[in-house]
Symmetry: C2
Subunit: 357 residues, 2 copies
């Protein structure tokens, strides 16, 4: 049994754990272990938005263009591609890339091909929208949790290894305690901080930039039943998936009331847009605390949680995991081109009064 | 908004809270406030056990005898009377008394009438069993929580007043944080501590004494729908009660696996044995931690919890509450006369090997 917090990130605490020293989790779970030289990562959610089947081909071409741009000396160590339909009826494709060094990401983003593509006025006309939502948490600002030990998805793909059985899971509060920064930091935004539109106007389309704030929390929570046998497929599709969908739809549609800025349950696809048996939810939250409060009190999430408790010990090929990060405001970038105004961070962002208003 | 921990019991912490300083609960709840002169209380569960309708009259006569004995200069400030049928099919009647001073309780228990009744060989013959399960937590060792503000039941009846809206509720871990001792103490039993039979043999009936250990946790969790209108009666009887019964039956029958020594869902009765619309559950746990783990992970309890969250703001006459204490081993007394061997603390108590075994 080891701590979820890697040895080089352990430090004297000013904030105690929630459970006594002799706490024993009810079943084994694992976390990713990264090369100690990794200090900060970049998670880039690169989106293409379209409306209607008639624009699907064009949207997928843009997806392939972005995917091709990742094949670059400073490209990400890992990426995957997803699709979801949002509650405005738009199709959204995302290429999600993971860099083990934000400066490599910076070089990639400012490389001539990538920059000129994003900056081109071509992006501002035509039927497609584009967005990029980027956070760069330090290694003391994120945690992972896997019910399996091989071929880690998401940020886990950057990490060189897997832990042994970890102690910090199986109780409410363990997510926070797996984040190394929690030893001495509450990871709270200031009360007066909120999302702000700092460029453009979501109501008018075009280019919009939203400024985040310290300690926005991002959760990616995944389900992969590609290799599952019939029993686990049934378990997932009959017992977990419907409740998951209900809970994630709730957050998508009512998130503003509970501190969830954006919530998307996405399905992995191949480069031609064909779905594979893998989904994940992407949630952006005002704070880790808001995420905690929702997760531990909403009937849908509690039902998923108790189902997971029941089956965790016997999972074979059904892969369930999550990764959760907080990031400094200065390490966030939320940019939109011609997306509908409820897209991503725009929905809850305050538009500043104009000077002559 | 005030702390659940009364001002005179607040002290510098070595164990931090689970939630940030600016946590705000989702609805109001209240705790009892006691006269600051009260330092320790006694909670005495005084039982009569019988089997079959043919012994009911005799059992109720014993109940009335015990109730009459409480009318004493050193009697309790408050008591109530309950009945439940246990999973061996026995009827159990309990008179539950609350003293605001353990020395008064001690004088009551050793008063000639009470002592000679308990010590009489008459108790050892005949069809009835008797038990007394007594704990005396200090004021820093217990907490209360009420969804109402008047006529506090249980230990609340000893307390002179009610708090304003308190901060420490609405999240897992708040029960622990309402107990003043949690500021600096994990309230854990030692690993090698367990219940022990220190006198007699449960398998042979007669007089048995069980020794507890430090930090056994006792929860009384109550539901009172005596004054409820039709809508709240329906809410309670249709939505809460069946799940509560299922959860409490689980603990009664499977408690040993999760650290619950004894669990009884009891119904209040009058002196003639007629039921009233008030029930409560009495759970004895190896530790507060075991209680926390079960409460925050078991489907039945989570369902009760989410229902409560949904209705809490609108409760009118349906009274829901709990009180939770831990007690030092030296402040516990568990005694049984002619009770079946699965009664109370006997079920999980280790019988020491005899000297010549």
């Amino acid at each position: 049994m080891e701590s979820a917090i890697d040895s080089h990130l352990t430090c004297p605490r000013s904030i105690s754990r929630r459970v006594p020293d002799d706490y024993e989790p009810p079943f084994p779970m694992w976390v990713g272990r990264a090369d100690h030289r990794i200090q900060q990562v970049t998670m880039a959610y690169l989106g293409v938005q379209s409306s209607g089947a008639e624009h699907r081909t064009e949207a997928l071409a843009a997806v392939r263009q972005i995917a091709a741009s990742l094949e670059h000396a400073d490209g990400p160590a890992h990426h995957d591609i997803t699709h979801h339909t949002d509650n405005q009826g738009y199709d959204n494709f995302m290429i999600v890339g993971y860099w083990s060094d934000p400066s490599a990401f910076g070089r990639w983003m400012s490389s001539p091909d990538v920059d000129s593509w994003w900056s081109s006025t071509d992006r501002e006309t035509g039927p497609l929208g584009y967005f990029r939502e980027i956070v760069s948490p330090r290694v003391d600002q994120f945690e992972t949790l896997y019910a399996f030990q091989e071929q880690l998805p998401g940020v886990g793909a950057l990490m060189n290894g897997i832990s042994g059985d970890i102690n910090e899971h199986g109780y409410w509060g363990s997510m926070r305690e797996r984040i190394p920064l929690s030893q001495n930091d509450w990871m709270q935004p200031r009360r007066d901080e909120s999302l702000r539109v700092v460029h453009g106007d979501p109501a008018h389309g075009g280019r919009v930039v939203v400024a985040g704030h310290d300690n926005i929390a991002l959760i990616r929570s995944g389900q992969d039943w590609r290799e599952a046998g019939q029993a686990e497929r049934d378990l997932y599709l009959d017992e977990i998936q419907p409740t998951l969908q209900a809970g994630m739809d709730f957050l998508r549609d009512n998130g503003a009331d509970v501190g969830c800025y954006s919530n998307r349950l996405v399905q992995n696809i191949d480069l031609d847009g064909n779905p594979v048996d893998e989904t994940y939810n992407i949630g952006h939250w005002r704070s880790l605390e808001k995420l905690e409060r929702w997760a531990e009190s909403h009937p849908t999430h509690l039902r998923i949680f108790t189902t997971f408790f029941k089956v965790a010990t016997d999972l074979d090929k059904l892969r369930l995991y999550h990764e959760v990060s907080v990031a400094d405001g200065a390490s966030q970038l939320f940019e939109y081109i011609n997306c509908h105004p409820a897209t991503g961070m725009m929905r809850d962002a305050v538009v500043a009064a104009t000077v002559d208003a």
